[in-house]
Symmetry: C2
Subunit: 134 residues, 2 copies
Amino acid sequence: MEFTNEELINFLKKNDIRPSNIRLKVLKYLLENRIHPSAEDIYNGVIDEIPTLSRTSVYNTINLFKEKGIVSELYLDDKEVRYDINTKLHGHFKCEECGRVYDFPVTSILHSGLEGFVIKKKEINYYGVCINCQ
Amino acid sequence: MEFTNEELINFLKKNDIRPSNIRLKVLKYLLENRIHPSAEDIYNGVIDEIPTLSRTSVYNTINLFKEKGIVSELYLDDKEVRYDINTKLHGHFKCEECGRVYDFPVTSILHSGLEGFVIKKKEINYYGVCINCQ
DNA sequence: TAATAAAATTGTAATCATTACAATTTTGTA
DNA sequence: TACAAAATTGTAATGATTACAATTTTATTA
């Protein structure tokens, strides 16, 4: 998928984020690389287009995106946090062999014991061996 | 709940872990404090009984327990990893107000798109406001 | 347009949970 | 008792993330 600058700018504005070059490039990277990247991945993916980019700016940008609700964090069996531009409910499967993280649809979760609790966010993470690593 | 040393020793042996004082005290702490403690919590909970205890030993012990499958790790919106002695499938709810982590039963999860994948572990983490913080 | 304020970006240093590792202590066994 | 293996300890290293102050860029006002 390719996104025009106009689309990216509108996306940011719609989410109450003032556009800047870094923000556009980070957003573009997230939209076009659905690999649940770490901050380091994002940094490496954008540094070529913005050679003066600092890691701090990547963190600043991600944290802003988090606040505005356009990215969610992924805590998997890693020491790095990963980021996902898809904030709709879906599951994540991490392959213990190749390390890849797959999205999968979650239709429903039957649970009990949370009467009176306000649920704001749900995470569903699976671990195992993916189909390519068997 | 209270556990006798004999029960604790048998529990370890059954799981192929050679008993030692530290391992017994850490296990006892985990069984009697179902608060999903961090390594630091465990350290603080055991240091009174073993004044020479080192943090490294807590990590060594937890990592051994993990390998043997008697504790699982919990990655919540925290920088610390938490540990859970209950390895059966259940959900975790983290209250964003008070920070407490609740267990809840998960009956079933309907998902798709993982045909041919081997699923070894499932995590279900919810975030929100608990009933005591409304 | 120039001057000024506000926002964004940068680089360095700090933080802090966890691990690496080597030294020491304890345990089990011959 | 002596020895080998295992467990424990303390210190230093690691590495992702944040704090913070300085600099640069952008927006606003006169």
